[in-house]
Amino acid sequence: MIKYIIRRLIGLIPLLLGITVITFAVIHLAPGSPTDLEEQFNPKVSLEVRQRIAHLYGLDKPLHVQYTDWLGRLLRLDFGISFVDSRPVIEKIGERIPITLGINLASIILILLIGIPIGVSSAVKEGAFYDRFMTVFVFIGFAMPTFWLSLILMDLIGVRWGLLPISGIKSLEFDKFSFFEKIIDIARHLTLPIFVSAFGGLAGISRYMRSNMVHVLKQDYIRTARAKGLKEKDVIYKHALKNALLPVVTILGLSIPGLIGGSVIFESIFSIPGMGRLFYESVMARDYPVIMGGLVITAILTLLGNLLADVSYAAVDPRIKLE
C-alpha cells in the first residue's frame, strides 16, 4: 500500500508540472498583462513608474525566465507576496483553506447521511410512488442554482424571520462567549452555508446510490442469499448494501474540485472568510500572486483527493489489489 502511494505521488510530478505551466500560461498569456491593471488603477502613472513596477515584479524578463523563477520559488513553498496587502500568499491561503474544507467536509457528511438512505430506499422500492417522488425531488436538487437557494434562505430565514445569522462565521461578541457558546455561535453561522452546499450534492449521491443498489439487487449472489434462507433485512442491508456502497467511498475524494469551485458563490453571499471568497476578491483586485497560488494549491488538493479516492476504494474492495 505504502509503495503504491509513493509510486502514485511520483507519478503526479508531471501533472504538477503541467498545472504550473497552465497556471502560468493563463495569467501571463491572456490579453490583460499584470501591469495593465496598474495602469487602470492609475491612468496618470508615467511610463517610468510603470517600468519600475514591472522590474520590481520581474515582469520585464522574458516569459520562460519568469516561469522558471516562479517555479523555483514554488518549490521552496514561496508563493509570493499579495499585491493587495503584501502578506505572503501562502499565509493568506493557509488561513482560508481550513474554513472552506471544514464547511465542505460537514456538507459531505450531511450529504452521505441523508443521501445514502434515500438512494437505498428508492432502489428497494423501485418503481413505487416513493421512488418516483424522490426522482422528482432529486431533479429539483440538480437544477436548483445554489446562489438562488442561498438568497431565498437568506431572505426568509435570515432577514424576515431572523432565525439564523447570515454573515460571517462569528458574531461580534464572539470573544465574550464561553467555550460552549462559541461552538454554538459558529454552528449557527455555518448552518445555512452547509445546508446550501449540501443541497445539490444530495441529489447526486442519492441518484448514484439508487442506481448502484438497483444494479446490485439484480445480481446472482442476492438470489443465493435469499435461497439460503436469510432474512430479507439481511439480504438488503448486509449483502446488497455493502456492494453498492463500495464506489461511494470514492465520493469524498472526488468531490473536492466541485466543492471548492462551488464555495465561491456561497462564501461570497454569506461573507464567509474562506478560500472561495479569497479567490474571488483576488480576481476582482487582479492580485496575481494570490490567483496563481490559489490555482496551484487547489489543483494539488484535487490531485490528492483523487489519490485518496483510489486508495480508499482499494482499501474496501477485496477484489482490488494495488499494483
Binding site: L15, G18, I22, A30, P31, A143, L151, D155, G258, Y280
Partner: protein, 264 residues
Amino acid sequence: MNKLVFLGIIIVSFFAILAIFAPLIAPYDPGQIDIENVLTSPSKDHIFGTDSLGRDLFSRMVYGTRISLLVGLIAVGISAIIGILLGSIAGYYGRWVDVVIMRFVDIMLCFPTFFLILAVIALLEPSIINIMVIIGVTSWMGVARLIRAEILSLKERDFIYAERAIGASDARIISRHLIPNAIAPVLVSITLGIAAAILVESSLSFLGIGVQPPTPSWGNILSEGKSVMGAAWWMLLFPGMAIFVTVMGYNLLGEGLREKFLKT
C-alpha cells in the same frame, strides 16, 4: 415517451420561443427607465414588478432569456467542437498523440472549473463573447473523453477497415464515419452542458463579472435583488425561478436522451 422528457421538451421550447420572439412578447423596452415607478411590486401594469430604476422586470427577463440561451448554446458549441476534435484525434491516432492529449485533459481537470473561469475572466473585460469563449474553453474535457472512448471501440470495426482498404483519408474516416457513430453519448453531454453553462453564466453575472448591466441577464437581475433584499421579493423570485426552470428543462431532456440511447 417518458412524461418527464416531454416536460423537458416543453420547457426548452418555451424558453426558445421567448428568446426568439422577445421583441414581440415583451410589453416594455427593457432599458426604459421610469423613476416614478421604482421597485413596485407585481401589478396589472408590470406583471413581475419593476426594478430599482423602474424598468419592467418581465420585459427584462424575457430579453434575459436571449442572453442565457445564447451563452448556453454557443459556449457548449465551442466546448463540443474542441472536445470532439481533440477526443477523436486522440482516439484515432493513439499512442503518443493520445497520451499527450489525455494528459492535457487530466491537467485541465485538476483545476476547479469555476476558479479557472474566474481567473481568466479577471484578465479580460467581461463581455458576452468573452464569457461564451471562456466557458467553452474550460468545459470541453468531458466531451473529449467520451468521444475518445467511443472511437477507440469503433475504430477496430470492420467497416473502418473497409474504408481504409479503399484508400479513404484519415480525415474522411474520422469525420464521415467515426464521429457520426460516436455522437450519441455526446448529445447527452451537450444537453446537460447547456444547463451547466446557463448556471455558470448566471453565477458570473450575479457576481458582477458576467453580463454587465444595463444588458439584462437573469444573473445580474438577481444580483440587484440581493442588494434590495427584504424590500422587493419579486426581484429574487422571478429571475431565480427562470434559471431554475430552464436548467431543469435541459436536465430532463438530457436524462431522457440518455435513457433512450441506453436502450438502443
